[in-house]
């Protein structure tokens, strides 16, 4: 589906298509920002609710993908600012999720997760958007409101740091 929303696309059917296409991606993004599946889904719901409201009042303009990620990102930031928010240090406390995976893979992922968590937040953000959401550099630059050069620089720094931690070794 094309990124650009034009006048003819301002129909509910198109909105449904957008929701179906991006719902899972936004949920995954929120999950990696919040590290809690219940809260992540709440934020995903809120993201799409706000998107629908904005869609009604302010049509045209743009890129639903970038707009959705920007709304989700801001909601995650607000969520973290809440006094009740307690950051989870481990990859996932959901036991059913861990049991369903092979033990080696889980350990490997936890080690990788720790390594990624040790990176600066700005680098974690670009890694999540690039490899978690498969967004292009230009799209990441739009969402984070930084230049493409900065995105590439942060990605390179992050990969180099992970490389030094010997993450890529089998």
């Amino acid at each position: 589906m094309a990124d650009k929303i034009n006048q003819s696309e301002c129909e509910t059917d198109d909105m449904e298509e957008i929701i179906r296409e991006y719902y899972d991606d936004i949920y995954k993004y929120c999950y990696w920002k919040i590290k809690n599946s219940t809260d992540a889904q709440d934020i995903t719901q809120e993201t799409f609710l706000r998107f629908i409201q904005n869609f009604v009042n302010y049509v045209d303009m743009g890129k639903p993908k970038a707009l959705l990620y920007t709304i989700a990102r801001n909601l995650c930031i607000n969520w973290k600012r809440k006094p009740s928010y307690i950051p989870l240090e481990n990859i996932e406390n959901d036991s059913s999720f861990i049991i369903s995976n092979e033990l080696d893979t889980v350990i490997d992922k936890m080690y990788l997760h720790d390594a990624v968590s040790s990176l600066p937040l700005s680098q974690q953000e670009v890694l999540l958007l690039r490899y978690g959401q498969d967004l292009r550099v230009g799209e990441i630059a739009t969402i984070l409101n930084i230049s493409r050069f900065t995105v590439m620089y942060r990605l390179k720094c992050a990969i180099n740091k992970l490389n030094k931690m010997k993450i890529g070794e089998d």
Partner: protein
């Protein structure tokens, strides 16, 4: 090695637990369907400008109408000779000042409340407001000139010149101040500048009548051209200043 890291990162980010509520997406789609028929079809810049009109402070329209009424009353009651058209010169900076205060507010506070929920940039919001204010000023100015022309038998080209030039000089000066002094004092500076121009304009009618001779029209035209170029460059500068997005989008 690098490819291996990238592959591992993709795998890690893909492994998320399933959503606790499988009906989440369905409920959002239902919500979207419930608003069917409410979505406006128009989406042009013209539509945006139209919607922006209601965000302009009501005081701006009230002051413009009051000024117009007072001027009409004053002209009808007191204008006795053809020199009366010179009243137009001190009144036009005040017309610009009324609109400038609104523009200054949008520029100073960077219109965060508008940019966050919409997807329009500050540049577009400011451009829309500029269009509305310039249109309103031009309308008021035209009314002022028509009122004056009805009462004073003056050449129409001179009337246009004496109306447009002070207006343009004021607008240029106000934008110049706003571009260089983007703080809470800018409104006072623009007000001082506009009132000073108005006073000088009013005084010049009696003190320097030579300014309004037909032979001085060349100078007025030159000032008009210079002010027009200055106004254009200041508008461009203001819009360029607004190109950057809100800082809060970049916070983490």
């Amino acid at each position: 090695m690098k490819r291996n890291i990238q592959k591992k990162l993709v795998e890690m980010y893909q492994s998320v637990p399933p959503m606790p509520d499988a009906e989440g997406m369905t409920s959002i789609i239902k919500e979207a369907k419930s608003i069917k028929g409410v979505i406006p079809k128009e989406s042009s810049l013209f539509w945006f400008v139209k919607t922006q009109i209601r965000f302009i402070d009501i005081k701006v329209w009230i002051f413009q109408i009051l000024l117009l009424c007072m001027y009409a009353l004053f002209v009808c009651a007191t204008l006795q000779n053809t020199e009366g058209f010179l009243l137009l010169v001190p009144i036009t900076p005040i017309v610009v000042l009324i609109g400038t205060s609104e523009l200054s507010r949008s520029f100073r506070y960077r219109m965060a409340e508008m940019e966050i929920p919409t997807h329009f940039s500050l540049r577009q919001v400011l451009l829309a407001r500029l269009i509305i204010i310039v249109a309103a000023d031009l309308f008021t100015l035209t009314c002022l000139m028509i009122i004056t022309a009805l009462k004073a038998y003056t050449a129409i080209n001179a009337l246009i010149l004496y109306g447009i030039v002070p207006c343009l000089v004021t607008a240029y000066g106000c934008l110049w101040i706003m571009n260089r002094c983007n703080n809470s004092y800018s409104q006072y500076y623009t007000a001082t500048y506009s009132i000073a121009l108005s006073v000088v304009g009013g005084m010049s009618v009696n003190l320097w009548p030579v300014w309004y001779n037909t032979s001085a029209h060349g100078i007025w035209l030159l000032v008009f051209c210079l002010a027009l170029v200055g106004f254009y460059s200041e508008v461009r500068k203001m819009l360029n200043n607004c190109s950057r997005k809100l800082e809060c989008f970049n916070e983490i």
